[in-house]
């Protein structure tokens, strides 16, 4: 079994030795070995290759000189001698004549090295017979673009969309027809033809001339793009920005670190995106809403810090609300919050005609729920209900921050969320408040005025904390420091908003909307005023309750 990582690998050549090639795709539990032998700040995929080999089980590995990370992975593995057969095939950056000759040389080198290592003979007819053509796909689909996705993530994506999903990243979408190789009479001419076929595939971002990549996102059958990037991999971010600028097709950027972490957040985003591409999932056969008379619906927003509930009557009037801390379990939190809301409305649970859940914990709430919808769709619906002029919603919660663009009917056009890092979220402010020894409430007031304009340059929470500590040591005014922190959150959020293009009116929701200092800094940074409703924190639950009427 020979492991490979890239569509430029000459798998047909290796197959002619009777070997099967498999894409190396192991998601490790941790990156300890990789970080000890290389460095933590490499992409998760590169580290996963190190982990896979160093933990045994990968005896034969053919790498391609893809990027800085893979070069170093090769160097480290070469030193450890953990593979029986380790080969790095150089890959030119162009497809011109000289580059083709260079690649032909590499193919020859691989052939000879493998023959010597294995003691096996190379067979030209077997090589020529090794080409397989893939069946042509047609019809509408959602494309996965960007850098490689592991099998797990690909499956998750496939489950989220009603349309077929096509993986067009590093390891998939390979199609060599082999005609020119089969027509060649000698090994030399066969390898030369093979090099040309390999180099003329749809180029990846590593190639100098990537014009042909446009075919990937200008396909009329393409209904949506999930654009995958991996943290510390820089090849693909530029292209995502480019596509977003040029194309109208809905696009969602998903950044992972090639681990199983944050799968929950990714699922929420994929589901919300699927709602954008093809509308919310069809009704799952829940109870019917009465067409007339008095009835009630509830929306539950099960967030990481609080669980909020809104109860509406048949006229979409709010009759009961509650906000309770989520506590240890999402389901217990939801029960408590629902009870409290029912109490405030003077109702019993059996009087609710329908309940819709949203938020992180939505999948974990017990029975009695007709439907769950992502908080993105809910926030949009809630905010639009509170103020129909709103086109951009900025939501900063405890764990994440997001910006949602909606159209004139309250439907989501596009959205972005922060990555895993805490910078720019409520959690960042909480940690800084603790460092400064003050409460959030106090912090909200303190940052409103400043005498000295301090800039906190670190986005990273850990570094920002040490910056704050040193500012305190320099006897800087606390209100100036808080002002600097507010500006930092505002800058991070404004950058997120800029990714969607600016369009007013704006509203702000989520817990941080209560922080007057951040609101002011954000208004200054964006140059707009933010609409903040008294119900700002209940926006998600309100949206869920409103959606109960539509589902």
């Amino acid at each position: 079994m020979i492991y490979t990582i890239c569509k430029y690998t000459p798998t047909e050549l290796l197959a002619s030795f009777g070997q099967t090639c498999t894409v190396l795709d192991r998601i490790p539990e941790c990156f300890d070995r990789a970080e000890q032998t290389a460095h933590p700040n490499l992409c998760g995929f590169g580290k996963s290759v190190l982990e896979a080999v160093l933990s045994g089980g990968v005896r034969e590995l053919v790498l391609v000189n893809c990027c800085d990370t893979i070069r170093r992975v090769y160097d480290v593995l070469q030193r450890t001698g953990a593979c029986d057969f380790l080969f790095l095939m150089d890959l030119p950056h162009e497809a011109c004549g000289c580059s083709r000759a260079l690649l032909t040389g590499e193919l020859n080198r691989l052939l000879n090295t493998y023959a010597t290592y294995s003691g096996m003979e190379f067979s030209l007819p077997k090589f020529q017979a090794a080409f397989r053509t893939n069946a042509k796909n047609c019809g509408p689909y959602v494309g996965i673009l960007g850098v490689r996705v592991g099998r797990d993530l690909e499956r998750m994506m496939a489950r989220c969309f009603s349309l077929p999903v096509r993986n067009l990243t590093c390891t998939q979408g390979r199609c060599l027809n082999g005609d020119s190789v089969r027509a060649a009479g000698t090994l030399e001419s066969a390898l030369d033809a093979y090099a040309a076929e390999l180099l003329h595939q749809v180029p990846c971002r590593r190639m100098d001339d990537e014009t042909a990549r446009q075919a990937l996102y200008r396909d009329p059958d393409l209904r949506g793009i999930v654009y995958h990037t991996i943290k510390f991999c820089d090849f693909y971010g530029f292209e995502y920005a480019e596509i977003r600028r040029q194309m109208d097709v809905p696009i969602l950027k998903v950044e992972t670190d090639y681990t199983r972490q944050s799968q929950g957040q990714i699922l929420t985003r994929l589901e919300a995106f699927s709602e954008t591409v093809s509308g919310p999932a069809p009704e799952t056969g829940g109870s019917k809403l009465p067409t007339e008379g008095v009835f009630f619906v509830a929306g539950i927003d099960s967030g990481s810090t609080s669980t909020d509930v809104v109860i509406l009557n048949q006229d979409k009037k709010i009759v009961g609300t509650s906000i309770v801390p989520t506590g240890a379990g999402a389901s217990a939190g939801a029960e408590k919050s629902l009870e409290a809301a029912l109490r405030s409305a003077g109702l019993r649970q059996d009087q609710l005609a329908r309940t819709v859940a949203t938020g992180y914990g939505r999948a974990n709430l017990g029975g009695g729920l007709e439907q769950s919808v992502t908080e993105i769709t809910c926030h949009a619906r809630g905010a639009f209900f509170l103020n129909p002029k709103i086109r951009t919603i900025i939501d900063i919660g405890g764990q994440d921050s997001k910006v949602i663009r909606i159209d004139g009917t309250g439907h989501v056009i596009n959205f972005v969320m922060n990555d895993k890092c805490a910078a720019g979220t409520g959690r960042f402010l909480e940690m800084m408040a603790r460092t400064l020894g003050m409460g959030l409430e106090e912090m909200s007031r303190t940052g409103l005025t400043c005498r000295e304009d301090i800039t906190i340059s670190s986005m990273c929470t850990v570094f920002a904390e040490s910056e704050v500590v040193s500012l305190v040591a320099q006897n800087k005014d606390v209100s100036d420091i808080v002002h600097g922190l507010n500006k930092s959150v505002a800058a991070k959020t404004a950058a997120l908003a800029a990714r969607l293009g600016m369009e007013g009116d704006y509203c702000m929701t989520g817990g941080v909307a209560k922080n007057a200092g951040v609101v002011k800094a954000l208004e200054e940074k964006l140059g707009v005023s933010l609409f903040i409703s008294d119900e700002a924190q209940l926006c998600g639950a309100l949206g869920a309750a409103l959606l109960a009427f539509d589902l």
Partner: protein
């Protein structure tokens, strides 16, 4: 960074979004003022060679900003003799980023790249410049020359810049292997590159002029190697900024008469310097020259200094002026930054011996994956050969990616360790 620089930088940052040309003029004025200060009241601590270096670099930066239409944007490892022989000015992206950070003007540029979708893990030398270019503070040059050596960031950034400025771009592809075949492959591309330059500039490059330039490069390389070997037993004090700027001299300006003269002055200075009295550090990779704890410890100190930095001596291989293309290609192919990291290890070991290093600092610049990935290999090999090695994480260009406290603790502990070893 000093308060004055911070204030100036913040002022440029505020001007940049609405008045990019005004921001550029402010920078030009500040650099011009600095140049006059260097001329009239040079830093007395600096030896004459380093004073000369500061002037040459400052002039080069001013030329890019003032006469972009006579400049070609280049990445650090592109051989520039064909440009300078034709009087086209090399416009160094990494160099400009250093000068922007040096002037405290980087925050608005970095923020702009986030809005533009540039990955936050991309090398900050590139991000600062991409931001400044995206905000139109940096002017458009005539054309672009770049290479995949020494990192992927080059490819991404320069391709993006060429597109952004709508100017032609030429890429030199350097293979992974250190071989004569690779030298021929690169030499062939350099010939094409010269034709590209001739087309873009409308001038013909006489072979004689190119040979003369490569001849200067060869002599410069020889002088600089000799200078490094004398660092072993002479104590020439200096500062980290000029140590880093030497990297630009020995790359983008290599082959010019000024740089040849600079290398002669280095040699004279070190020959006249007193015997070595403190710790010699070999510094690998880029230097966070703006960072206070680094400056405080390493600038003009009797205790410790950077005796050599691989960014400034790498590529100074033997060159033959009668084969200018092969000589320039050999610099790229046999660079310690090309191919397997084992070459970098080997070059580091050799340099550590040449300068008689007491210790080695391997600087892991945030986002430089080529360097980060080799950190443990380099440490292992150098320590096995008796050179204590500090892996120092930080950022050469974006103060937001590193913390002064962490850097100072690590450097201090390392210096204490080296001193304890020597006593």
């Amino acid at each position: 960074m000093s308060h004055l620089i911070d204030t100036f930088g913040a002022f440029v940052d505020r001007q940049a979004p609405a008045h990019p040309v005004r921001a550029r003029r402010l920078l030009i004025a500040a650099y011009e003022a600095k140049k006059w200060q260097m001329r009239l009241a040079p830093d007395r601590g600096l030896p004459p060679s380093k004073r000369e270096l500061c002037l040459i670099m400052m002039q080069s930066i001013l030329d890019c900003l003032r006469r972009p239409e006579h400049s070609a944007m280049v990445s650090l490892f592109v051989p520039c003799e064909p440009l300078t022989a034709l009087g086209v000015h090399p416009y160094s992206v990494e160099g400009l980023s250093c000068y922007l950070t040096g002037a405290g003007a980087y925050r608005a540029f970095l923020d702009h790249t986030v809005e533009d979708g540039v990955p936050e893990t991309l090398c900050s030398y590139h991000r600062v410049f991409l931001g400044a270019a995206g905000m139109h503070v940096m002017p458009a040059p005539r054309f672009v020359l770049h290479t995949n050596l020494a990192c992927d960031a080059n490819q991404l950034t320069f391709r993006n810049l060429a597109g952004r400025f709508h100017i032609p771009d030429f890429a030199v592809d350097v293979p992974f292997a250190h071989s004569e075949e690779a030298v021929r492959y690169v030499a062939e591309q350099l010939r094409k590159m010269v034709r590209f330059i001739e087309d873009c500039s409308g001038q013909k490059l006489p072979e004689e002029a190119l040979r003369a330039a490569v001849g200067r490069s060869a002599r410069t390389a020889k002088n600089y190697r000799r200078y490094l070997s004398l660092q072993n037993d002479h104590w020439l004090s200096g500062d980290v900024t000029s140590e880093l700027y030497a990297a630009f001299m020995n790359h983008v300006l290599l082959g010019t008469p000024q740089v040849e003269r600079f290398s002669q002055m280095c040699l004279e200075d070190v020959q006249n310097a007193p015997p070595r009295s403190g710790l010699n550090l070999l510094w690998l990779h880029t230097i966070p020259f703006w960072q206070q704890p680094v400056r405080q410890r390493l600038n003009f100190s009797d205790r410790v200094r950077i005796a050599a930095c691989d960014m400034s001596y790498e590529g100074l291989v033997h060159m033959d002026a009668s084969k200018p293309y092969e000589s320039m290609a050999a610099r790229m192919v046999y660079s310690g930054f090309n191919g397997s990291a084992e070459y970098r290890v080997k070059a580091a070991l050799q340099a550590a011996r040449t300068v008689g290093a007491d210790g080695v600092v391997y600087f892991c610049h945030w986002g430089c994956k080529a360097t980060l990935g080799a950190a443990q290999m380099v440490k292992q090999s150098l320590e096995a050969a008796g050179f204590p090695t500090l892996i120092l994480d930080g950022d050469g260009c974006d103060p937001g990616n590193s913390s002064d406290g962490q850097v100072s603790t690590r450097l201090d502990a390392f210096l204490e360790l080296l001193e304890a070893r020597n006593s």
